[in-house]
Subunit: 314 residues, 2 copies
Amino acid sequence: MNTTVLAADLGGTNLRMAVVSSDGGILHRVRKKTPESRSRDDIVAAIRNSASECMEAVQGTEIAAMGVAVPATMDFNGGILKNSPQLPSLNGLNLAEALKADFDFPMVTDNDATSAAVGEHWLGATSGFENSICITLGTGVGGGLIIHNEPYRGNSGTAGEIGHVCVEPGGFPCGCGSCGCVEQYASAIGIGNLFLQLKDGYCDSLLKDFERPTPLDVFEAANSSDALALEVFRMFGMYLGIALAGLINVLNPDVIVIGGGVSAAWELFIGHARSEIQKRAFREPAEHAKLVRAKLGDDAGILGVARLALLARK
Amino acid sequence: MNTTVLAADLGGTNLRMAVVSSDGGILHRVRKKTPESRSRDDIVAAIRNSASECMEAVQGTEIAAMGVAVPATMDFNGGILKNSPQLPSLNGLNLAEALKADFDFPMVTDNDATSAAVGEHWLGATSGFENSICITLGTGVGGGLIIHNEPYRGNSGTAGEIGHVCVEPGGFPCGCGSCGCVEQYASAIGIGNLFLQLKDGYCDSLLKDFERPTPLDVFEAANSSDALALEVFRMFGMYLGIALAGLINVLNPDVIVIGGGVSAAWELFIGHARSEIQKRAFREPAEHAKLVRAKLGDDAGILGVARLALLARK
């Protein structure tokens, strides 16, 4: 029987919701802006409304469960969002509790990066691999681990914070309180940081008049062979490679999958990341660790949390 | 019934062998120098002789299995030692094959750091914890992971190479081919490196006439409040802390256990490591990750591989 679930991916910018069948088919989807107020009530209402819209669109289809991927660390025992730097109003929220008056099916809430790792493992680039690392290069760097075919959450549900591995002890300060985190180099934030660090040395760059170019500006300049933009992506790749080499030495994964919006610049950074891995990781685990692009794009989180909802429902 | 196994810990310096009962009791032990020739035949013969000595000493006791902890990465499917930087003559050896004419019980071979992690989890400091990281500070830095109460080996058996996490991208060159590995800072090797880097700035140090002091020399000087020696251990702890903070962010372990000969300097470095963790790791996983000293000392590897032999025998 084909079971159907609702699955949502709540981000700092967008709230996306879909009706997902048990084979991963997306039957309907809606997309809204995350409420500008960022208030807990408005966010919960937006999830409620998106869910209702989806259910109306597939009227007659029974919804077996709902999953919501959130940009937060989770307390799994209580289903509580612990810490959401992007949406701090949600800290301490039990989303299933908040929605249970409206919907009579089971609900799971999970971290967005873990959900993306589950999605890629279910239907994407890491399918069939026992141990994988899923990295999302977006505004920051997100990470999720699959170990022995299951999401690995660690002692208190926060495992996978790959973005906050230090790659330069005295490097750029990070929002987490540390400095030199790989997130400050291999992400949209990182592109901005590296641009500012480097720009004075490149007075004939296409980007010389920008105060802080967007990642897309730098991407386009690099594709026009702009030396500054190419150097930004070289350092982006080098620092990503330093972090990946450490992960390869420690975890000896079958595969590392890289997605997220900024991974569109793949050709500009991946060679530099590979060189660094070759230099820094042990030969054998480096040869065993495939480095691949994500397959599911923006849908990784939605499909992953749909999978978790399908499993929870059984 | 109390089953009894033989367990050996083969190192670059010593070969230690013990008769171990199923409750972890050590009934007899022998210790030899690792053969100076470092040849495969001599090492296998030394293991054979130590095993025979042990069996004679407990005559009448049935030996159910034998485990050997080796300083090498392992190919578990074939039981073959893949890569041993300290004893390269063993690369490619199937130890169980090499000894099967002499002994008629099952034999397991495993990595020494993984064995130590299993030992501490069975009878030592990480007993009862589901997810732990075991770190050995000796000549270099060894590591073993326990995930969901089992040793985690990764895709090809090399997981746990914590010593080769980069903590200073342009740092001291490492024997592995990379540079800035934590092994080059938080180990006996590291104490030597840091001493050489720092000594010119401390002309009234107790160590000023040493060309390359032993770790014990530096330890004793630090305990006499020598500023150079104290700074060596501050940097040792700081770099160890950088590596541990990354592991805490990625793995969210219940506990990190630190052993090995150099961990005797615990009081001189652990505060600096803790400060760095506090600065660099996310608050929650840092609070959840206990940082403790190993309990089993030199016996962690022997007891761990005894445990693996006991499990293999069942």
